[in-house]
């Protein structure tokens, strides 16, 4: 299959795949986080959740301190949690997804909408992959645990700080028994 065909198939699939998770997210997208003005298209959130948790999942949601937390299930088994958040880059919010397993270990992050003119490499797999397996107890410091990308300094720092904040919030809710 050529590159074009593969790309087309993927596009068609994401259009067709208004899955359980994404249908729910049609409504959740508008509520995510305090910076709710910039949200991600629900289809994109659904595709990201499918990628991270695999197909055939369903989601419900909790509202904790004004943040929507998605709980991801397959059948009746809890797979983990996800949050869609925004963090300011140089001049625009970067919309990203943080997904953990039930032990709050990071399964993956995803850059859902990137709006800045330079630094889009944070959306690429080689950079995102560094976060996998990190937990709230791990320190995430740019140029230590997380390697930066020169020419994308602002985005790298912003997203890393955003992931730290998301993990900290999961840990807080876990500690006070709300998650």
């Amino acid at each position: 299959m050529g590159l074009g065909a593969r790309w087309w198939n993927r596009a068609a699939r994401s259009l067709g795949a208004v899955s359980g998770a994404s249908l729910l997210l049609l409504s959740v997208a508008g509520l995510t986080g305090r910076l709710s003005a910039q949200s991600a298209p629900p289809k994109k959130v659904g595709a990201a959740l499918d990628r991270v948790f695999g197909p055939g999942t369903r989601a419900d949601s909790l509202s904790l301190d004004g943040t929507i937390v998605l709980r991801m299930f397959r059948e009746n088994e809890l797979l983990g949690y996800a949050q869609v958040r925004n963090v300011k880059g140089k001049d625009q919010p970067i919309t990203y997804l943080v997904a953990t397993d039930t032990a709050l270990q990071l399964k993956d992050i995803d850059i859902l909408v990137y709006r800045e003119p330079y630094g889009g490499e944070v959306a690429y797999e080689p950079w995102r992959r560094q976060f996998r397996g990190k937990s709230p107890a791990d320190s995430l410091v740019v140029d230590r645990q997380i390697r930066g990308i020169s020419g994308a300094t602002i985005s790298v720092n912003a997203v890393t700080a955003g992931v730290r904040a998301a993990l900290a919030s999961f840990a807080r809710w876990r500690e006070d028994g709300r998650l």
């Binding site: 590159l3 593969r6 790309w7 699939r13 067709g16 795949a17 208004v18 899955s19 359980g20 998770a21 249908l23 729910l24 049609l26 409504s27 959740v28 997208a29 508008g30 509520l31 003005a37 910039q38 949200s39 298209p41 595709a47 499918d50 197909p55 055939g56 369903r58 989601a59 419900d60 949601s61 140089k90 001049d91 625009q92 909408v113 990137y114 709006r115 003119p117 330079y118 889009g120 490499e121 959306a123 690429y124 797999e125 080689p126 950079w127 560094q130 410091v141 740019v142 140029d143 230590r144 997380i146 390697r147 930066g148 990308i149 020169s150 020419g151 994308a152 300094t153 720092n157």
Partner: protein, 376 residues
């Protein structure tokens, strides 16, 4: 395949959320930022007292009209002030463009755009480079800050999402501004009533991953400016630039380099028309290595103290057309070493020493420089 039907639970939940969530409201937002630098420099030799200058003060202003359409601009004051008849000082727009994010992979861009050649032309905030002054290569070969009016597309290749692309159609250069010493620098039009007699195409491919960024770029366009002698065609007196650059970070070490070669077609005709002495080929580059001295002393610190060494070699007379004498003083070799201290990633204090040499061994000197810079 991810296709599946929606479980009833999700539908129930959907009904319980407010319908307003379906709409993506566009909230406008304005952002102010900026960067600046103060530079002190003292050339070796008698009768050359030190000079201190507020080199640049730049205000960055961005506005998001919607989630997809945004403006970005930079207004720059050089040399602190501008007065009638003063030799220095400049107020200029460094960039001012509209972006329309069509889909994730494709953004349309139009306005006053930075030519995507080398590293420093697009990214030159003082904390992003070592050395008080920008490399001379990025002045005399790649004429930083080179910006022109036009339109283009930026994005990444679908399916190859580690490679980003920029492709622009911009107004061209004017050959009447070319010089022997600074090559094509004087031919830039910088958004001021620019002639579109000669369009130019420029583009860049970039590969970026943790610790590594590689770029390759080109510029091609005519420079005749509808001059009756040089030609009235769109691509008369053609000029081509090919450039490559790389940035590599390994632990406490940082390496970067930039290279470019410029072919000035019709250099002979340009020189005889304007009495100039521009080379038919302009070429060179630099290599720089740096090490963070704080890494072994304070491994947990986010402050950095970079010790760097940069070597530049370029020649604006790498080749000359018939009738133009090759000037060996234009084959320059500049070595700079010094320190950059960053208490925060966006504030820097710099000091360096520069050995300025050329093949003719004429007018050579050393420069001691101190500086500070910031961005936000």
């Amino acid at each position: 395949m991810a296709t599946r039907t929606a479980p009833p639970l999700a539908l129930l939940l959907l009904a319980s959320f407010p319908v307003t969530g379906l709409a993506q409201e566009a909230v406008e937002a304005t952002t102010i930022g900026g960067y600046g630098e103060v530079q002190y420099s003292n050339h070796s030799g008698k009768g050359t007292p030190g000079e201190v200058n507020l080199e640049r003060f730049v205000v960055y202003l961005a506005h998001a009209f919607s989630d997809r359409i945004s403006l970005r601009s930079e207004l720059e004051i050089e040399d602190a002030r501008l007065e009638n008849g003063s030799a220095s000082g400049e107020v200029a727009l460094e960039q001012a463009y509209l972006d329309y994010r069509l889909v994730d992979a494709v953004t349309l861009r139009t306005g006053l755009i930075l030519v995507p050649l080398g590293i420093l032309n697009e990214i030159h905030e003082p904390p992003t480079f070592n050395g008080v002054a920008r490399p001379d290569f990025d002045h005399d070969v790649l004429p930083t800050t080179w910006r022109e009016l036009g339109a283009g597309v930026v994005g990444h290749l679908p399916g190859v999402s580690v490679v980003s692309v920029r492709l622009y159609l911009l107004n061209g250069l004017r050959a009447d501004g070319f010089t022997a010493e600074e090559g094509i620098r004087g031919g830039r039009q910088q958004g001021q009533k620019a002639t579109f007699a000669n369009p130019s195409f420029t583009g860049r491919l970039e590969y970026g991953r943790p610790g590594l960024r590689l770029g390759a770029a080109f510029w091609y366009g005519g420079t005749a400016g509808q001059d009756s002698v040089l030609g009235t065609g769109a691509f008369d007196a053609p000029l081509a630039v090919v450039a490559a650059d790389g940035r590599l970070d390994v632990g406490a070490f940082q390496f970067r380099g930039e290279f470019a070669t410029i072919h000035v077609g019709d250099a002979q005709a340009i020189n005889s028309r304007y009495g100039s002495a521009v080379g038919s080929r302009i070429a060179g580059g630099f290599l720089e290595g740096a090490v963070n001295l704080l890494r072994p002393i304070a491994p947990a610190s986010r402050q950095t103290l970079m010790l760097f060494l940069r070597h530049e070699r370029f020649d604006t007379h790498a080749a000359v057309p018939p009738g133009t004498a090759q000037d060996p003083a234009l084959a320059r070799r500049i070595t700079t070493f010094g320190l950059s201290y960053k208490p925060l990633w966006n504030v820097v204090f710099k000091g360096d020493y520069q050995l300025r040499r050329n093949r003719a061994a004429q007018g050579q000197d050393d420069v001691l420089a101190l500086g500070m810079g910031y961005q936000f």
